[in-house]
């Protein structure tokens, strides 16, 4: 395997609504990540984009994103109908083939274009569950209920997750929701999708994240302390309600194992767990202990820009390596109802 590292990232400030077109939102972030890396467009070997048509309400919506790239002369480019973190995975594969040495990956989405809780229902099977139109919060609440009833999480633990993330987000300029809350205050709040309370649910946002990755000496020449990808893997599990556990995440555990999470201590983990109970489930599935700082950014709970929230976790995890505050970090992205699909990446400094 070639050594590949994250060498730069850029994010838009997550917003509840935006008036800019998706392309207008992209351009400053793409320019920023190029500037942060100190690399010219022409030196990017591969471009890969993650987005979803239903976020903008237009078929082929990703096509216009090419307008933001200055794709002239034509570029080597691809697109995944998924979070931008999966675009990073494709770019990592591409670099492994030896065809290119650098890649710019990005994810973007406007959660505010439509009713995001209703749009996400379309990820369910269209024959049996989908037609019932459970919204995203109700879907997550089914899982939270199962976790509470079986005792794998408690309401207090969920409130602690909400408290920590919202506190952490105070120091994250990109977060959408932040603030200090007490456990009592959080546990006294009204339920919005029983057993979930408002601050158990993600702050859906309009956002963009871009990341540049590079191989070997190229990475060393572009960054003082690249965040080396030491392991990366993704796994999926069944979505079928009668055919999957609501209280464990075997796909996350399998991806973590493949990525080598357990071989050494993880200093910081940035987890794409939109709901509080999901962060608890995921922390357990990944085998993370007390010594790991979880979501210093405030995580997806405090800003969940569709199709870039996972890549933003990678960017945050890499930033801790690059600024020297951590030596081994974990970036995670998920997709689908009940965190059905999980992508895990272990990053290390040299």
């Amino acid at each position: 395997m070639r050594d590949v590292a994250i060498i730069a990232s850029a994010q838009a400030i997550n917003a509840a609504t935006t008036t800019a077109t998706p392309v207008e939102m992209l351009i400053p972030v793409v320019n920023q990540v190029l500037e942060n890396a100190g690399i010219a467009r022409a030196d990017i070997g591969f471009w890969c984009h993650g987005s979803c048509d239903y976020m903008t309400g237009q078929p082929f919506s990703f096509v216009s994103a090419v307008d933001a790239l200055g794709a002239w002369p034509p570029i080597i480019e691809s697109h995944v109908e998924a979070d931008g973190a999966f675009a990073l995975y494709e770019a990592w594969i591409k670099i492994q083939t030896g065809e290119v040495d650098t890649a710019l990956v990005f994810g973007n989405g406007r959660s505010s274009s439509g009713d995001i809780n209703r749009i996400l229902t379309l990820q369910l099977d269209p024959y049996v569950v989908g037609p019932l139109w459970p919204d995203d919060r109700s879907i997550a609440a089914l899982q939270a209920r199962a976790c509470l009833e079986s005792g794998v999480v408690t309401e207090r633990a969920m409130a602690e997750v909400a408290m920590r993330n919202h506190h952490n987000a105070i120091s994250n300029p990109y977060a959408l929701r932040r603030g200090d809350h007490t456990i009592d205050e959080l546990m006294a709040a009204a339920r919005v999708a029983d057993p979930l309370r408002e601050l158990d649910c993600p702050a859906h946002a309009d956002g963009v994240t871009a990341v540049i990755i590079a191989a070997g000496d190229r990475a060393r020449s572009l960054a003082k302390r690249p965040a080396w990808i030491r392991g990366i893997d993704h796994r999926i599990e069944s979505q079928n309600l009668g055919n999957r556990s609501m209280t464990t995440l075997p796909s996350a555990a399998a991806a973590a194992h493949k990525a080598g999470v357990g071989s050494d201590k993880i200093d910081v983990a940035e987890l794409h767990a939109p709901y509080t109970h999901q962060e608890l489930l995921l922390t357990s599935a990944l085998g993370l202990g007390e010594s790991t700082s979880i979501n210093p950014s405030g995580g997806a709970l405090c800003a969940n820009p569709m199709m870039s929230a996972g890549l933003a976790r990678f960017a945050e995890a890499a930033a801790r390596i690059m600024n020297g505050s951590a030596d081994r970090t974990l970036g995670h992205a998920s997709s689908g109802p009940w965190m059905q699909q999980n992508l895990v990446c272990v990053l290390e400094g040299e």
Partner: protein, 163 residues
């Protein structure tokens, strides 16, 4: 077998709110005023009318200053539509053309009427027919269609670079 359920209908309804984007605002204001206002790319200096999504795709940058272009233009290429389909409100056959407005550097799509489809030519000069002013919205639909001006056709070389 006759009792088998082979298909079910599950209608989907989602409401979306689209953004024109701040850079398209002056263009839409222009349309409310009966004018074609495009934008110039600060990098390659070409004029986009309409200003699409506020970007010059070739340069990958945001468009800059407003530029009002002419009302008349040239048909660079076209299609005679002879197939009826959903939502079509115009009688077939009709002409959908790419029109390069005078002063713009990229063509746009619009309808051609007041001429037999068979008589439409590449290079034909056309002008807009606007809706009555009280029906104007911030939309290119304020122009009902374009029609021939009767001027001599533009030379092929003048628009060959647009094809």
């Amino acid at each position: 077998m006759s009792d088998d359920v082979l298909r079910i209908r599950t209608p989907i309804g989602i409401k979306y709110q689209y953004s024109a984007g701040p850079r398209v605002s002056s263009h839409l204001h222009g349309l409310m005023d009966g004018r074609f206002v495009g934008k110039r790319c600060p990098t390659c200096h070409l004029v986009y009318m309409p200003p699409r999504n506020g970007t010059c795709a070739k340069c990958g940058c945001l468009l800059g200053e407003d530029v009002e272009v002419g009302q008349r233009g040239t048909i660079t290429t076209f299609c005679i539509v002879n197939v009826p389909f959903l939502g079509q409100t115009i009688k077939i056959p009709y002409v959908a053309a790419t029109i390069l407005l005078d002063g713009a550097d990229m063509g746009m799509s619009h309808l051609i009427q007041e001429v037999e489809a068979a008589d439409v030519r590449m290079g034909m000069r056309v002008e807009p027919v606007w809706r009555p002013r009280d029906e104007w919205q911030p939309s290119m639909e304020n122009v009902l269609y374009f029609r021939p001006t009767g001027e001599p056709d533009a030379a092929f070389e003048s628009y060959a670079g647009q094809l």
